[in-house]
Symmetry: C2
């Protein structure tokens, strides 16, 4: 039921925008009483946050699949960074309504973004640790600081406000490739 | 006279915003006929572009002073990147009116921004060439590509849209320091 409510809320959000998303309309669309929806989500804010949380979780699930792949860690790192960029480019084009909703929700409920950032950070830390173990990233000295620096150095390719004005995907990927070669040399030691 | 007109226009822009900036008001503030101003700037758009061009030129003059300093090139590179970040942080706080005018003007007259970007690019290329000569940046393989990658990797610390939401200056400088150490290891070879 929880998931069906979120599906309905997400689809209403896509069609009518964030301002129109509320418990009563979700309940109506599901032919339920709104008391029933409130049993799953205690407020409109909780419902909205849950929709965006799940939407972001889909992103981090895709990147996580790369983090835990069975291949040299340096290759995983490159693929992880490119995949995150591609996902963001697609969202900007194909999922603008959810993206703009997410930008507002994370202002109201910063935990949603903190949680997402932590997922991504944990995945990168996992890759860097793997790179020390398999010796493909021997230049990593301080994994936590390095993860932060990698995310900051690639902001232009994953921050929605940058991606949306960053030009055609092919140009952005070329730019990202340049940044990746710039940072990989140090990480490969 | 050219410079006095620009001084007046810039100060009117600071006080009243871009929408109110026009040749007639500039002429009035200088007790001149507007024909006289038109002899220096052929249109309102040309006047506006010239104000922003000069404002951006002040930024690139400051960074250029670092590019041509007599010190090891690797140190110049670090100082150049930090100085650009500090300048942008100050503009966001202290010069918001000009910054927002600049964002509009470069849409209308992209040459103004292209010219600025070329100035910065040339300075960085100069530093990297110096770093190959003085052997402090022996890891630089393709200077042009490396310059672009360095600017892209530090976008978070010099792009106005990022700097304005990037948190306190001290936090931004800490982040930039992390990115700088990440990229310097490869450049130092």
């Amino acid at each position: 039921m929880h998931m069906r409510i979120l599906d309905t809320a997400e689809s209403l959000l896509r069609r009518h925008g964030l301002d129109k998303l509320n418990v009563v309309d979700v309940a109506r669309a599901m032919n339920m009483s709104h008391g029933n929806v409130y049993r799953h989500f205690s407020s409109k804010a909780a419902l909205r946050a849950a929709v965006i949380h799940r939407w972001l979780h889909r992103v981090s699930s895709q990147t996580n699949a790369i983090a835990i792949q069975d291949q040299p860690a340096d290759e995983r790192l490159v693929e992880w960074l490119k995949t995150l960029a591609v996902i963001k480019q697609r969202k900007v084009v194909e999922d603008a309504e959810l993206l703009s909703a997410a930008a507002k929700i994370v202002q109201e409920t910063p935990e949603v973004l903190d949680n997402h950032a932590m997922q991504l950070t944990t995945q990168l830390e996992y890759i860097l640790a793997a790179g020390l173990a398999d010796k493909t990233l021997p230049g990593v000295k301080d994994p936590q600081a390095t993860v932060l620096a990698i995310l900051n150095a690639t902001t232009r390719y994953h921050h929605p406000d940058m991606v949306v004005h960053g030009g055609p995907p092919a140009v952005q990927m070329e730019g990202l490739n340049g940044v990746i070669s710039l940072i990989m040399r140090g990480l490969k030691g």
